[in-house]
């Protein structure tokens, strides 16, 4: 089962593939360090540029960015008390007080080592759990695949929290976008309105860039962040090797945070910020000196950072095996896989083992590279990034978005379409409509429709064919549990409070 994993290793060390991971990690730290930018946005902007690249180069960039951005978010969290990414909120609790005491450099070193530890643990979890799960899913037929798609959508809508009506609207919108274009079986046009550019459907990259890159750019221009700037000479940074002995007491926190991060990453809809909060709370609860937490306790930084990196690769376990992403970034990464003709799901492991297992290695090496690339010297350099003017950054991202989307087919129609999705995405973002169900709806919509129609054909039009085997029934039961579970849990908690 794991022999493919070893076979994939030599390809990962090919110069271009390994260089892609290095570049990705650096780019990820840069993006994560800029408040307002996120890994999701960076990967969305990157995806169209990877069209002409080898899959492992493209995936290496994505794995590097994801790992790097999760650590990069700690830089402004520690130095300015502004989390660079949502997952770095818990890092501010003790990171910023440490910086106020002149220990900002040590706080960032704790963050980088903890991030690397979490990332490595997460990559191992992906390597160990994904292959056996993919073997199971290979046995699925059309009706099971249809229910997996429904289960995936239901999970991300109902487990994401927030308003389920808004989640459902987002998912319906995504699935509707997936049916635009030629009918895959009969070939008749659906909602193309005579536009030849839409016959092949809506390219996922156009949607990703519109939804995930345009709203942050508008945010960058809407509220210019004013900080006093950061002087890297005031960080009090010492050599990473000298700082390591001070971290030897954190191993329990690292192990606990890694476990929590991996578990939360696997759960659809949960994410890095939840993992970081849970890990921070647990570490504080079990600490001998909880009263010092919040006033500059380095273990607090370790707890938050290890967990928010531990959910990175693990979020890809359901994404790669079932096509159900655990986080928004994983949803965008699924889009990146599709761009290279790699349909997430069980067939991915059978048809492209070198690529999928190579991708797992890249996650592992991305996490290890964090220590080298995010070490003391680099930390000082990355801290200077906080002084970059946001309006200038915004204008450069606008140009990159246009180039990326235009390059897909070499036509401006796609750019206009992206701007339309961007406007929709901005409104959705402001009104708290979740965006991951839109992406998942687009990814799973066509997939679900194709398998539903295939199953109905096999059953000669009888819809009961969808309920005729145990796996389908288990998936239906899981879907129902996911839908009613959160409201039952809420009622249970309310009734206990009332008692």
């Amino acid at each position: 089962m794991y022999s493919d994993l070893l076979h994939a290793l030599p390809d990962v060390f090919a110069l271009t593939n390994f260089a892609a991971v290095i570049i990705g990690v650096i780019a990820g730290i840069v993006v994560g360090a800029m408040p307002g930018l996120s890994a999701t946005m960076a990967i969305s902007v990157l995806v169209p540029f990877t069209f002409g690249l080898e899959p492992l180069v493209a995936l290496g960039l994505m794995a590097g960015i994801y790992n790097g951005a999760m650590y990069g978010g700690a830089i402004p969290a520690v130095l300015l008390r502004i989390p660079g990414t949502p997952a770095a909120v818990a890092t501010t609790f003790d990171g910023y007080p440490m910086a106020q005491k002149g220990e900002g450099g040590f706080a960032l070193q704790v963050a980088v080592v903890s991030s690397a530890f979490g990332g490595i643990a997460s990559a191992f979890a992906l390597m160990l759990l994904a292959p056996p799960l993919s073997k199971v899913t290979l046995l699925f037929g059309p009706s099971e695949v249809f229910w997996v798609a429904v289960f995936g959508l239901a999970s991300i809508i109902f487990l994401l929290g927030g308003n389920p009506v808004k989640g459902l609207i987002s998912a319906c919108f995504g699935v509707f976008v997936s049916v635009i274009g030629s009918d895959p079986i009969y070939g008749n046009d659906r909602f193309t309105f005579g536009q030849l550019e839409m016959l092949d459907g809506i390219n996922i990259v156009i949607l990703l860039v519109g939804l995930y890159a345009l709203p942050p750019v508008i945010d960058l221009l809407e509220t210019p962040l004013k900080t006093g700037g950061v002087s890297s000479s005031k960080l009090g940074t010492e050599s990473l090797w000298k700082a390591l002995p001070r971290m030897k007491g954190f191993w329990k926190t690292w192990l606990r945070g890694s476990f929590l991060g991996i578990w939360i990453g696997i759960l659809p809809g949960a994410g890095g910020s939840m993992a970081a909060f849970m890990s921070y709370n647990e570490a504080r609860r079990t600490s001998k000196n909880p009263e010092e937490w919040g006033e500059g306790e380095p273990e607090g930084v370790a707890a938050a950072e290890v967990a928010n990196n531990a959910d990175t690769a693990s979020a890809l376990i359901p994404a790669l095996t079932l096509g159900i992403p655990g986080t928004a970034v994983a949803a965008v990464m699924l889009g990146g896989l599709l761009v290279h003709g790699l349909q997430p799901g069980p067939m991915l492991f059978r048809d492209n083992p070198d690529i999928v297992f190579g991708f797992m290695w890249q996650f592992l090496f991305g996490a290890i590279l964090l220590i080298i690339l995010g070490g003391s010297l680099a930390t000082n350099s990355f801290a200077r990034l906080l002084n970059l003017p946001r309006p200038l950054l915004g204008s450069v991202i606008i140009v990159l978005m246009l180039i990326g989307v235009y390059s897909i087919h070499g036509r401006m129609f796609d750019v206009y379409l992206m701007l339309g999705f961007g406007a929709v995405g901005w409104v959705m973002d402001r009104l708290k409509f979740p965006l991951p169900p839109v992406v998942l709806g687009l990814i799973l919509g066509g997939f679900a429709e194709e398998n539903l129609r295939l199953a109905l054909r096999i059953g000669r039009g009888d819809p009961m064919v969808l309920f005729q085997n145990t796996t389908s029934l288990i998936l239906v039961a899981l879907t129902v549990a996911v839908i009613i579970g959160p409201s039952l849990k809420k009622r249970f908690i309310d009734s206990r409070k009332a008692d």
Binding site: G52, V165, K166, L168, I169, C172, F173, V175, F176, V179, D183, I185, Y186, N188, R190, F191, L214, V217, I218, L221, E222, T223, P224, P389, R390, P391, L392, G394, S395, V396, I398, V399, L402, I403, Y406, S407, G410, M412, V415, Y416, L419, G422, A423, W426, V427, R430, L431, G445, A448, E449, L452, R453, L456
Partner: protein, 153 residues
């Protein structure tokens, strides 16, 4: 607290729900011309959107009736509209007068209008960005960018 808007119908969620309702109903019309099996999923999604939009509308109006104030979608609408119009103008300019000219104007213009007013910094940033794009995409990857419909190319 009493609702400060002139009309309860101008609440952001209400407007969004009405928008979804209208657009989904509009898209539902062409589904009647499709084969039933082709129309199955799109029609289900559009009907779903209509039902959900009605639920969203009712929930928001109930909040309005209870005196819950709707939060504005932005604190600085002029900046948001300005940013969006500039991005759309950049796309149109790229289409009609060409990529390089539009980009060389847009980078400093957007940064200047939104608060970065260092002429040397703007010049350096524009030269670096446009130069890098040319070197990587045009020179290195032979990527063609729009040269401008206005010039008949």
């Amino acid at each position: 607290m009493p609702e400060s808007r002139k009309s309860r119908l101008t609440r952001p969620e209400t407007l969004t729900a009405l928008g979804i309702l209208l657009v989904a109903a509009g898209f539902l019309i062409p589904t009647s011309e499709l084969r039933p099996i082709s129309a199955l999923l799109p029609a289900a999604m559009l009907i779903g959107l209509i039902v959900l939009a009605v639920l969203l509308l009712l929930a928001d109006q109930r909040k309005a009736a209870a005196g819950e104030e709707a939060k504005p979608v932005t604190q600085s609408p002029k900046r948001v509209v300005g940013a969006f119009l500039l991005i759309v103008s950049y796309a149109l300019a790229t289409d009609f007068i060409g990529f390089y000219v539009s980009t060389a104007v847009t980078i400093p213009l957007v940064a200047w209008l939104f608060g970065y007013r260092n002429p040397l910094g703007l010049l350096v940033a524009t030269v670096i960005v446009v130069g890098t794009i040319w070197a990587i995409f045009d020179f290195g990857m032979s990527q063609d960018f729009p040269t401008g419909r206005f010039w008949g190319r």
